[in-house]
Symmetry: C2
Subunit: 341 residues, 2 copies
DNA sequence: AACCTCAACTTAACCGGTTAATCATAGGGG
DNA sequence: CCCCTATGATTAACCGGTTAAGTTGAGGTT
């Protein structure tokens, strides 16, 4: 294993018979270098296989060309996270690759890791930080932002008001609108006893989706039946059983996540109900598995990868010091009608 | 947005009334610093909120304290990748966090991105590189290794022999053993017409699993029926139909991935076969969804997160210059018996 | 008291780039 | 013919750490 010495600017300069500064200019594509010299330098670079040392470069430029993505590694991580984060990562990755930035992934659940993340960002190891759907009210984004570090969140952060004036910009999807479309679809189909399985009320996704359900039922003048779940399939099963016990004659249920919706389908089948004839079911997410459930699930599609891309784009702008960026970007959701409703 | 000046070593030194070198020693936990001085420095560090500048540090130490994980962003990415990579990432993340290293994620599919990855690694931006299950014969791991960069692969790399003597170490699971256990289970249950849906033959997972099937059937003196899939559910459906058409009386099928196994279940139901009474089905992966399929899937569990952890551990050792590391670590697989076989 | 040792600190060189300030040279204007 | 100005290169300072080499002084020897 030969740890071959890597050529430095100096070496290239000597070989090309010019100064370090000139080589630096050529490498960074500066104008005002004579064509002949430029060509000589380029040749030397190729011959030696020169690659700039990023550490040296960032030391002086104060830029690292990399971005951190923080994933919440919470105690109660749920399976659907494993369907959500890859899509986010993919979206982010595409956009960063185009901008030739690197993606640094960090998990942050414990307080200890919070410190780690903060120190890391503050140490100037990254040019900006993205947070993927935090649970609860996490102070970290605000803290970093108030330290002058470019930050963006996926999912509207909870408790925005009192962050000492530091508004953390975010990208989210239109939970509310999507749910309204879903519930109206149920109403329009003549359903009148429409229940919901809501998500955890410490997450925006949980809160907003429940709000959408409530608003639409109010609008239609129908009674509400709410059960709570935590986005897991198992909790969907439990919640569905509870709802059936409370109101055996319910004829539809809007479920705040696909994973819970699958749980609901299982519970309904166990209870001898047919979907959609007895009970209509609509989920939220449009994960791939929902195309293959029994019956295929009608659901609200959220553009997850797009969220990742948008986050990355916004953050890059922030880093470039662009002004007048929106505090919030809300991407549209869309009702995908299959067979369950 | 106040981009507050970060304090430097110099500032801390002035405040504590000592030299930069002394502060550096304290920060790095060197011995041979008087307790009183150490305490004064620590206080200054706290008061100023000093955090070392990583760029400056790596410039001299030639270490970045970060590790790259390369994911293949192939044209035909399949859904099961989204179940596989998060687990790998989680495993890797846990191990790196414990070692206080950072994880840099890179996608590498196109040739262009190959160059990007190579340049990045060569630029000394990371201390080592991990490759997650590459498709086909990818020269990149070998290239980097021969450049003296610590490298490790998840999944035995194809075409090892001719890499100019550079053997790339890897971590893999015991595909062969797992499949043997699965197929023997079928044989022991009295199944005699055992088909298989194999994975793509340009991936070790595809190749080894087919080999396991073939070896076990040889051993049992049974005839082989092979159909090929590409690890997608859709291809599982197709392959199962083909197998049924070829041999309507088959009584078992080993499927090389859970996702394809679900496809097979769908196709079998469509064809009016009951599982497991008519046809037994065994998959490979043990993804969470397989606990909830209809019927719950008997499958071979592979410890994916463990693979990530092991990869990270091995790579860290490699980076630390430990000798006598095994070229290969093969983790055990385990048959999980549910209801489909 | 002079000398040596050794622990603990400081000095200064260095890592590999960027870039402001400086300098050389050729061309144009008076 | 001389001076001034561009143009394009070089010089050198700097980024913020680490660490080898050098300095200082307290304590132990003889």
């Amino acid at each position: 294993m030969v740890t071959r010495e890597r050529p430095t600017l100096e070496a290239v300069a000597r070989r090309a018979g010019v100064s370090r500064a000139t080589v630096s200019r050529v490498v960074n594509g500066s104008t005002s270098v004579a064509a002949s010299i430029r060509e000589a330098v380029t040749r030397a670079v190729d011959e030696l296989g020169y690659v700039p040392n990023q550490a040296a470069r960032s030391l002086v430029t104060q830029r690292t060309e990399s971005i951190a993505l923080i994933l919440p590694e919470t105690a109660n991580r749920v399976f659907s996270d494993d369907l959500f984060f890859p899509a986010i990562i993919r979206g982010v990755g595409v956009e960063l690759e185009a901008a030739d930035k690197q993606l640094v992934l960090m998990m942050a659940g414990s307080l200890k890791s919070h410190g780690r993340v903060e120190r890391y960002a503050v140490a100037g190891h990254v040019d900006g930080v993205m947070f993927a759907s935090m649970h609860g009210e996490d102070p970290l984004p605000g803290t970093l932002a108030s330290l002058g570090i470019p930050v963006i969140c996926s999912g509207r952060p909870l408790s925005l008001p009192n962050l000492r004036g530091t508004q953390v910009p975010y990208v989210d999807v239109d939970h509310f609108g999507g749910v309204c479309a879903a519930v109206r679809h149920l109403v329009a189909a003549g359903r009148r006893r429409i229940a919901t399985i809501a998500g955890p009320q410490d997450m925006v996704a949980g809160i907003d989706r429940l709000a959408g359900y409530q608003a639409t039922l109010d609008e239609a003048g129908l009674a509400q039946h709410v059960a709570l779940g935590d986005f897991t399939r198992e909790s969907g099963i439990q919640a569905m059983r509870t709802l059936l016990a409370d109101d055996p004659k319910l004829d539809a249920v809007f479920v705040a996540s696909d994973m819970m919706a699958h749980g609901a389908l299982i519970a309904l089948k166990d209870a001898g109900r047919r979907v959609p004839s007895d009970v209509a079911v609509i989920g939220f997410d449009d994960f791939e598995i929902s195309r293959y459930s029994d019956p295929p699930l009608t659901t609200v599609r959220q553009p997850i990868a797009d969220m990742g891309r948008t986050m990355a784009r916004q953050l890059l702008r922030l880093i470039n010091g662009e002004h007048g960026l929106p505090d919030a970007v809300v991407l549209p959701t869309e009702l995908v009608v299959r067979e369950s409703a």
